[in-house]
């Protein structure tokens, strides 16, 4: 990551931590609404790579605040949601790892049980897939100068992939946490409930699968490969 993006992320972590109790106002005051506004218009002049990084942090710390709406317009909300989902899934994974390394049952930490290890490995694969989808979508949006229509294939693919990961990630996170994860006092629901909501927001699985499937049917079998390689690397 660039030094500028590192600084942006540091700022985002500090501001979102404050916003977690104070609401959206500190995020507005810090100027995150200007993230995508060009520098000549007195904005930050950021790209979607920056947005992706910031929204992943928002997905970890303030999944309930309208940070995505503040930063990007309506056409970009599906893409923004993928970034939020990647962040929230990463948070669900880290909470799960911390929990199983701490919680003792049958005389040893839960994380030492092979069945628990295998479940968390499966969950980690899903989280990595969504992180990769969010990053690849960011590359595409930046390559086409933030033209959402030109990135429709990638938006559909990334949102659909993220949607499909929700079931696995939330189920395993809650399973390895046991009852504590189902309580109001524990932090897990702060990310799993938004994940459940985001799966249906800005296009559910059926919506994006149909939208992507129609594009690909138009490409033809060999055309799918040619389209994928022509659109990135």
């Amino acid at each position: 990551m660039s030094a500028a993006r590192d600084m942006l992320c540091d700022t985002a972590r500090a501001v979102f931590a404050e916003a977690a109790t104070a609401g959206i106002a500190p995020v507005e005051e810090a100027g995150f609404g200007l993230l995508l506004v060009p520098e000549e218009n007195n904005g930050f002049g950021g790209d979607w790579g920056d947005v992706n990084a910031v929204l992943q942090i928002a997905g970890v710390i303030v999944p309930d605040l309208p940070v995505a709406e503040l930063i990007a317009g309506e056409a970009f909300q599906p893409a923004a949601t993928v970034s939020l989902m990647a962040g929230a899934m990463g948070r669900a994974l880290s909470l799960s790892i911390d929990h199983v390394n701490t919680r003792q049952q049958f005389g040893r930490p839960l994380g030492k049980f092979q069945a628990v290890q295998q479940s968390l490995a499966a969950m980690a694969c899903e989280v990595r897939a969504v992180e990769a989808a969010a990053a690849a979508l960011a590359s595409r949006l930046d390559a086409v100068g933030l033209d959402a229509a030109a990135a429709d294939f990638e938006i559909a693919a990334a949102k659909l992939r993220a949607n499909r990961a929700v079931g696995v990630v939330t189920a395993i996170a809650h399973q390895v946490h046991g009852a504590i994860g189902f309580t109001e006092e524990y932090d897990l629901h702060r990310v799993t409930v938004p994940l459940m909501r985001w799966r249906g927001a800005h296009g559910n699985d059926a919506f994006w699968a149909a939208r992507l499937g129609r594009q690909v049917a138009g490409f033809g079998g060999r055309g799918l490969w040619e389209a994928m390689t022509a659109r990135g690397a």
């Binding site: 290890q117 968390l120 897939a129 049917a217 079998g221 490969w225 690397a233």
Partner: protein
């Protein structure tokens, strides 16, 4: 394990031109093979195709020119490999030599070994197999028992390897053997390069449930190979093999080996498929697009000289699941008889039968998940 930092996939040179050149070359040189041979194509053996591919400079691409290679960037090789797989080209003959054995000889081999073996590998004419698994050592590779004792004449090998893909057509085997008497687990293991025409070697076929002959049992009965057969350092075999497996687990073959079925599904569906098939095509596309990003990023990390053991395992796990699910999900939705002879039906039958092996080859799902769990700090 930190978040999946997506390494930028930025091969040098004109990648679009590299793809175009290769696509043109394939249009002129790829044999009109049966549709089933095009699916699971890294198991399709075609010696003349491998030789032509080598002559065109597409095998041993990353090897230095002094050994017959093209000195290309690893990510240029990646692009070529994904094009070959997406086209269903029969790369099985030289596949292991190109992917693993060549790079390993370059990295750990002696100068004599490099000069002796690498030019043939780069020419697409010298084939290799991997001598890892044994009857008592599959997923538990540290249980290897085949021995090699150093004598005045050379290394004397006794034991047995199993599940050895391509041993029946390979010229050499890179074998993991126990060189220290009484050693246990992953200590005392070394890698030996064994010419398979050495006396004392018996190769017996194992026919798989599709009726194919890919696997073999290989028996070593007092086989004598020269001192110079040792690859790398004596006793460092485990470390070398672990590095080798990283090359094996993250390549595009982990999600593209069954690509022909997706192509056939899309083609059979036509430009305006019914809603259920449209949905399935969309779901499979979202998965393959994501897998490609993961695989490319892992390749970029590997090319940068880092060790992406965990990322490579993620690619293998997700890629295997995708390739296993795809035929089942296609079967669940298309109307097709088991014995039908159209392309889609033939591919579906072949891949349904082949698919149980996908989460076995290159490490079982449970072992791969164990590696990921270790990366998560759970072991």
């Amino acid at each position: 394990m930190q978040g999946f930092a997506l390494y930028p996939f930025d091969p040098p040179g004109d990648i679009a031109a590299l793809r175009t050149d290769l696509r043109d070359w394939l249009a002129a040189n790829q044999p009109q093979s049966d549709v089933v041979a095009r699916a699971n194509c890294w198991a399709s053996f075609d010696a003349s195709f491998s030789r032509a591919l080598g002559a065109a400079g597409y095998v041993g691409m990353t090897l230095p020119t002094q050994y017959g290679g093209s000195d290309r960037h690893p990510l240029e090789r990646y692009v070529v490999i994904e094009e070959l797989l997406a086209a269903g080209a029969p790369v099985g003959a030289h596949w292991i030599a190109d992917r693993q054995t060549g790079p390993l000889i370059l990295r750990y081999g002696s100068e004599e070994q490099r000069q002796r073996y690498l030019p043939g590998i780069a020419a697409g004419e010298l084939y290799a197999c991997i001598g890892l698994s044994e009857p008592g050592a599959g997923s538990d590779l540290a249980a290897v028992r085949t021995t090699a004792r150093e004598t005045a004449e050379g290394w004397r090998i006794n034991g047995q390897k199993i599940w050895t893909t391509g041993a029946h057509f390979s010229h050499i085997m890179l074998a993991l053997v126990r060189t220290e008497e009484g050693s246990e687990r992953n200590a005392g293991l070394s890698q030996l390069l064994i010419d398979l025409d050495t006396p004392g070697i018996t190769i017996r076929p194992i026919i798989d449930m599709a009726g194919h002959h890919d696997f073999n049992e290989v028996f070593f009965d007092d086989v004598l190979v020269p001192h110079g057969a040792l690859v790398g350092e004596r006793g460092q075999g485990w470390k070398q093999v672990t590095a080798e497996l990283g090359l094996e687990r993250s390549g595009p073959e982990r999600y593209l080996s069954s690509h022909a079925l997706l192509v056939a599904l899309i083609d059979a569906a036509g430009p305006e498929p019914d809603p259920a098939i449209t949905t399935l095509i969309g779901e499979l596309t979202a998965e393959i697009w994501t897998l490609r990003q993961l695989s490319m990023s892992t390749a970029a990390k590997l090319a940068a000289g880092e060790d992406p053991m965990v990322e490579a395992s993620v690619v293998k796990e997700l890629g295997n699941a995708f390739e296993q699910d795809m035929p089942r999900r296609v079967q669940a939705i298309v109307t097709s008889g088991w014995d039908d002879e159209n392309d889609l039906a033939k591919l579906l039958r072949a891949l349904l039968i082949a698919s149980p092996s996908f989460s076995l080859r290159g490490g079982t799902r449970e072992v791969i998940r164990g590696i990921i769990a270790r990366g998560l700090g759970l072991r």
